[in-house]
Amino acid sequence: MNGAELWIALPLLLLAIGSLLTLMVGALTGNDRIAHLVAIATALFAAHWSLQPAPLMVFPFSVPSLGLSASIVTRTFTFFFCLMAAGALVFSMGYNQQRALRGEEYPATLLFATFGMVALAASTNLLTLFLGLEAMTFGFYILVAFDLKQDASGEAGLKYLLMGAFSAAFLAFGIALLYCIGGTLDISQAMRRSLVIGPVHPAVLAGWGCLLIGMAFKLSLVPAHLWTPDVYEGAPAPVVAFLSGGSKAAALLLLLLLLPQAGDACLLRAPLWGLALFSMVLGNLAGLLQNRVRRMLAYSSIAQMGYVVLALIAGLAGGSGGYQAGAYYALAYGVISLAAFGAIAVLERNGCGATLEEYNGRGTTNPLASGVLALALFALAGIPPTTGFTGKFLIFTSALKSGEIMLAVIGILTAAVSVYYYLRVITCLYFKPAGNAAQGHVSFAEAVVLLAASASILLFGLFPSSLLNILKILG
């Protein structure tokens, strides 16, 4: 391994070593807190490293032998994943203590999942891509079911495992089919050979079909969304924050790595169109009916992914900025998820239950967490000046530019409908009298993460230019 390879692989190595270190420290000291701190430090260090300017020797940013790249998009997503992990770990410290979830394997597994995400973001090779995705999902199988004493968590874990394994099989088979036709695992070459203009080999169509089915599971698109409400409700809140924010961005990144390389991706328009339509409509309509906040946010997540797919459809046409919009929205949604579920983790630690009524009056007893949750909900509803609004604006601009007028109109109407259920939570938080809940408590670290997430929701919403410049190369 020469210097360039080492430089590119370093974030991965850091996360892997940090994960092992966390396990060892936890076992030696028997103190979960220290294990968490080691894991947070690792994630922050890896994030810091991903921001370093690449030395000259690393050009042209990829090492075929490793199947890894260090492009600016890769490094941006690496930074994002690592920070998401650190944020989720901060919320876990208090949450796990209160729920009596013990064990250093929790932070170690979370870091391992991050390792998978970063590997996926860096991959230039179909095999690395698949391994990264599955390493990530593997971590989540454990994390989702971590709250052993609760039946809901176990049920959610089982559901996620079964569905996830199912989708992994589809993905693997799809990749195998594409490999058969293309004769190479290198992403850009395999993609270019897969969807050539003219008559398409049936195996290619089957391969892409399998890939899309697998991705629909990971992104929780209708009709492959059934695991989402249960997992969002049953899993520990910080895990949901990481799952919703990190893993969906990772899955989306996979599509963003594959689609722009494909020669004539317009063949995929019809299936993606259906996925986007049903996700937007059903997700938002089902959200209206929910009385439990986490389930509601699960359906919201389904709908939000529908908007992202709309951006991908726009991207297929080329020149519309659709992929850029999709990537921006994936990142924006990640931060919003972290803020929302981080705030929910803090509220639940302070004795808040699952139903909407439990959130009554929390605006006075837990001002910080409620404020951040309200901001996140406004962002999800697409109200300016948040990343949620800017992201939706970019998506609808690209959709109209590529001529998807019908889907854009349906999308914006469903967005108008969705505002109702987001506002319902806000009315509970602020307009209804509090029960007999005591004054809430937020730790310093939690406050820092919540405020940082809120600040980035506002700042990247108002000043998206720097981020857009980075994502521009996606097209």
């Binding site: 109200i383 109209l400 914006i412 967005a415 108008a416 109702y420 506002l423 000043f463 230019s465």
Partner: protein, 498 residues
């Protein structure tokens, strides 16, 4: 003055209340300090707005569209051609003055009536001011849309937290109604931007650039319809008005004052600034529709106002009638009618704010707003009754008071274009006279119905109402300076259309 011209005065107008409002947020427990700070900030903003008047005669700065005497333009999101462009012409100046004045008075109106979360209340008033200022000053459609939606949030919380009755329902209805109209406008803005970009190769959200877009009739009609829907909901034009009486009835007094005095004006302003100039052909095609809606609003609002038992609802419905005149003046789009419409926006802002403030004061004292509960107030609380009389008469369109001038100009400007419409609207001048006189007669002069212990106005309330009354008299007796200010922008706007 020359020293001031270097300052980004328009940005300060937008940002000062925003920063002030954010600083007030943590002052939840120190209520008195929060109130005083809000008043000082509101006053400073008003002085600043008056300072803008000094520039009204100065020539356009470099790069500004004609008629705009203050202008700021900076690059913002370059990749999408989005710029931070603020500009002030005569119309904006009037709206900005009104906004600063009404917000300042709204702070005073709610001085004693807010007991919980005081810091938050006053901070929301200031945040709202910031959003409304932004709407009245933006010349970039993206920026405009941003402010347009942002200003909903403080009002949502004002109604929801400090409202009464079915305030949750009303807050939600207000937000959903206005937002769903706006979302379609967002799509229309984006479409216009894309069409213009494809035609000229320059992708821009600047109003000046987009006015030059050539649109096919069908496309223009669709896009204009989306704009019109958003603005008509805010206006509100009948049949899109149903959110307004609920929101007014359940809002706290300051909320009602701002809602009637300022928020409704944003719809009319949007139509004048963006709707007509961007889509002249489509607007001309849909003018009959706006005429019909305006006259329906005038007649229907007055008609329903008759049968109201709650004073606040009565004023809310009379608002719908008065805003109908504004819509009529805009739809006619002649210089006289348009000046009248803008003037009527200011008039309505002053008079209706005052009426809502008066009803709020009565409510604070008697804890009811039922018309049937009151009687003989003239003898009991003379100062209150005098002001009530002045503003009721202004609202009814008595000559010498402000509403008369606006309504007269609108009718005079519309007569040539649409005689029948004008004739129908004229009935709408008479109807308010009837229900207002009935109201005044009932609560001021008839026998006392319930033995209520009422105190007369305190100095603070007296000051608020005096300022508004002065405004009413000034506009009613000597509207020339304001009309002079409107002359150039109105001529520039209507120049393109016969």
């Amino acid at each position: 003055m020359s020293a001031m011209s270097g300052l980004p005065i328009l940005s300060i107008l937008v940002v000062l209340p925003l920063l002030g409002g954010l600083c007030l947020l943590p002052l939840g427990r120190r209520a008195e300090l929060a109130k005083v700070a809000a008043l000082v900030l509101g006053g400073a903003e008003f002085l600043l707005a008056c300072g803008c008047w000094l520039f009204a005669a100065s020539p356009s700065p470099a790069g500004a569209p004609p008629g705009f005497f203050l202008f700021e333009d900076h690059s913002w999101i370059a990749a999408y051609g989005i710029r931070y462009t603020l500009g002030m012409d005569g119309i904006s100046l009037l709206m900005v003055l009104l906004t600063a004045l009404v917000t300042m008075l709204a702070v005073l109106v709610s001085w004693r009536s807010i007991h919980s979360r005081v810091g938050l209340h006053f901070s929301l008033l200031l945040l709202m001011e910031s959003g409304i200022m932004g709407v009245f000053l933006s010349l970039d459609l993206f920026l405009f849309y941003l402010f347009w939606e942002v200003m909903l949030i403080p009002m949502f919380f004002l109604i929801g937290i400090w409202g009464h009755g079915r305030n949750l329902y009303s807050a939600m209805k207000f937000f959903l109604f206005t937002l769903s109209g706006s979302l379609l406008m967002l799509l229309a803005i984006i479409s216009l931007y894309l069409i213009h970009g494809a035609q000229s190769g320059i992708y821009s959200f600047a109003l000046t650039a987009l006015t030059g877009t050539t649109l096919s009739p069908a496309t223009g009609l669709w896009l204009y319809a989306a704009f019109l829907l958003a603005f008509a909901i805010k206006f509100p034009l009948v049949p899109l008005h149903t959110w307004l009486p609920d929101a007014h009835t359940d809002a706290p007094t300051a909320g009602s004052v701002i809602l009637a005095g300022l928020l409704l004006k944003t719809g009319a302003y949007g139509l004048i600034r963006f709707g007509y100039p961007l889509f002249p052909e489509a607007a001309r095609m849909l003018t009959p529709l706006v005429f019909v809606l305006a006259v329906t609003g005038i007649l229907y609002g007055s008609w329903v106002a008759f049968s109201q038992k709650d004073m606040k609802r009565l004023v809310a419905y009379s608002s719908i009638g008065h805003m109908g005149f504004v819509a009529l003046g805009i739809a006619a789009w002649t210089p006289v009618a348009l000046s009248g419409a803008v003037l009527q926006m200011v008039n309505h802002g002053l008079t209706t704010s005052a009426l809502f403030a008066l009803v709020g004061m009565l409510d604070e004292r008697a804890h009811t707003r039922e018309i049937e509960a009151f009687g003989g107030l003239w003898g009991k609380i003379p100062r209150f009754s005098t002001f009530f009389m002045i503003f009721a008469m202004a609202s009814a369109g008595l000559p010498g008071l402000n509403n008369f001038v606006g309504e007269f100009l609108v009718l005079a400007g519309t007569l040539k274009i649409a005689p029948l419409t004008t004739a129908l609207a004229f009935i709408g001048v008479i109807l308010p006279l009837v229900y207002t006189v009935l109201l005044v007669q009932k609560i001021l002069f008839q026998e006392e119905r319930r033995p209520l212990q009422l105190a007369d106005l305190n100095p603070r309330e007296f000051a608020v109402l005096s300022v508004l009354a002065l405004g009413d008299f000034y506009l009613g007796l000597h509207p020339t300076p304001l009309l002079g200010m409107l002359k150039l922008p109105v001529a520039l706007l209507t120049g393109g259309m016969p």
